[in-house]
């Protein structure tokens, strides 16, 4: 992990991370190590007056599940894409394992980071097994190893390999496709997993089922997960930390247990969304 000059330290970091970073550079012991780190990142695109992300700093620690919560257009997906270098910051930098994304070879970086999107984006011309085994294949694993890895991953996400390996995505339900999406992202055993509203397009029952299973899986795998959602319920269920975004800035960052108590209008707007069912109160 590289040393960060003090001049680049920012005061509007989420609580605790600045102190933690200083401790870290002096002492490599028990403090959780930030595996991803945004340093004063601004991302703007031509033709848009306001940046999508504005001077944002935050760290993601190893093995935590950080949920980026926010409304549409708050910059959640942009942050994900900055992590795997689908986007490069206009200002500031994003460090992955201590190295700026702009210095990473994008292909190496992305194969190192699993990515799951809303519609799964499975390759329709590949079987389930070929989808899951794609990155291992591109990494020149031998066939036997790919096969055992694929079977292992399919079992992990609750799909019986004998039944599903040879199917094509069109022959799967939405929930099954999303399970394959998760298995595919885990293909080459990445240490980081980025998930962009992975359960957003599923029916409520399937969604609840997958959320539940995934929270178990996340705990078991111990990967660093950055999870984007606009659903507070989902955030509370999966997160070890919730970061609330609004218009490209962090407005709140806390453990899920304390999140509901935060006395900020944007947080309360989200909390209110939990109680919108008539006759049901929390």
């Amino acid at each position: 992990m590289s040393h960060i000059p003090d001049s680049q330290m920012h005061y509007d970091r989420p609580r605790g991370t600045a102190e933690r970073a200083i401790v870290q550079t002096n002492n490599h012991s028990s403090v959780p190590e930030p595996i991803i780190r945004f340093e004063d990142v601004t991302y703007s695109v031509k033709g848009r007056p306001t940046p999508l992300v504005t001077q944002l700093s935050m760290s993601v620690n190893s093995s935590e599940t950080l949920v980026l919560l926010g409304r549409s257009g708050s910059g959640k997906t942009t942050l994900l894409r900055l992590i795997n270098r689908m986007l490069i910051p206009s200002q500031g930098r994003v460090l992955v394992e201590g190295r700026a994304t702009s210095e990473w070879d994008p292909i190496r970086l992305r194969r190192h980071i699993g990515y799951v999107i809303q519609d799964a984006g499975l390759f329709p011309h590949f079987t389930v097994a070929e989808n899951v085994g794609l990155i291992p294949k591109l990494e020149h694993w031998d066939a036997a190893r790919i096969k055992s890895r694929t079977d292992e991953l399919l079992s992990l996400v609750g799909l019986e390999p004998a039944e599903f390996a040879q199917r094509r995505p069109a022959q799967l339900s939405g929930g099954q496709r999303q399970r394959v999406g998760v298995a595919r992202a885990l293909g080459a055993d990445p240490s980081i997993l980025l998930m962009d509203e992975p359960f957003g397009a599923l029916d409520p029952v399937t969604r609840a089922e997958l959320q539940h299973e995934f929270s178990e899986l996340a705990r078991r795998l111990g990967k660093t997960i950055v999870f984007v959602t606009h659903d507070l319920r989902e955030a509370l269920m999966l997160a070890t930390r919730i970061v609330l975004l609004q218009a490209g800035r962090i407005v709140a960052s806390s453990a899920p247990q304390e999140f509901l108590q935060i006395d900020q209008p944007e947080v309360q707007a989200f909390t209110a969304s939990l109680h919108t069912v008539p006759g049901v109160s929390a």
Binding site: N84, I107, R108, G121, L122
Partner: protein, 210 residues
């Protein structure tokens, strides 16, 4: 003289002309595919070039075929009288359907699939060869099929500039005011077009993945 009688008495000549015709079409299609498919791949990421090349290919389509054969005659190297000039003209006509379908096929892929491919760390070449091309294959083949049928028809006009083929009978028949002679060129040309269409439809169905 009935058409049937003319067919029987000139069968060797008709067969020769048919083979000539087929050869003309096959060479032209081969060249057109070799140009249009790679070009279609090349212009996917280059909007300026895409507008230009699709525009140019469309312009060739608007030139009446007899006129295009005529225009090419005085041009050095590619022009003159004979097969070479005819092949150049046929290639120009075949470009648009293949180029346009290659382009549509490569660009009409589900954006989620392409996003996933990029995010997983596939290189641009891998995305092209393993994702875009296989998914576009059906549409590209449909373009090749359209172009082939079109070329078989237009190739009859190649006889006007001395390139041979079934057009020989058609032009001779027009000059002799003989339906029998015209049909000796038109019927085999129509049959060729139908057979090529059926054959390519079969290939398309075999190779179409979804």
């Amino acid at each position: 003289m009935t058409p049937w009688h003319f067919f029987i008495t000139h069968r060797a000549e008709i067969l020769d002309a048919t083979l000539d015709h087929l050869g003309l079409v096959m060479i032209s299609m081969f060249i057109a595919i070799a140009i249009a498919v790679p070009l279609g791949m090349f212009i996917v990421q280059r909007p300026a070039l895409r507008t230009f090349s699709l525009g140019a290919a469309s312009v060739f389509q608007t030139i009446p075929s007899l006129a295009l054969f005529g225009f090419l005659i005085p041009i050095p190297f590619i022009g003159g009288i004979g097969r070479r000039t005819a092949i150049v003209a046929l290639v120009l006509y075949a470009l648009l359907p293949i180029l346009r379908n290659t382009h549509v096929g490569l660009t009409s892929i589900d954006p989620a699939v392409l996003e996933a491919a990029e995010a997983m760390g596939m290189t641009n070449t891998q995305i092209l060869t393993r994702v875009r091309l296989p998914l576009a294959l059906g549409i590209i083949l449909a373009g090749i099929r359209t172009a082939t049928v079109l070329t078989i028809g237009i190739a009859t006009i190649a006889a006007a500039i001395g390139a041979g083929g079934l057009g020989i009978f058609i032009f001779r028949g027009v000059a002799m005011v003989s339906d029998a002679v015209i049909l000796a060129g038109a019927i085999p040309a129509a049959l060729l077009a139908i057979l090529a269409d059926l054959f390519l439809a079969l290939v398309e169905r075999r190779l179409r993945i979804l």
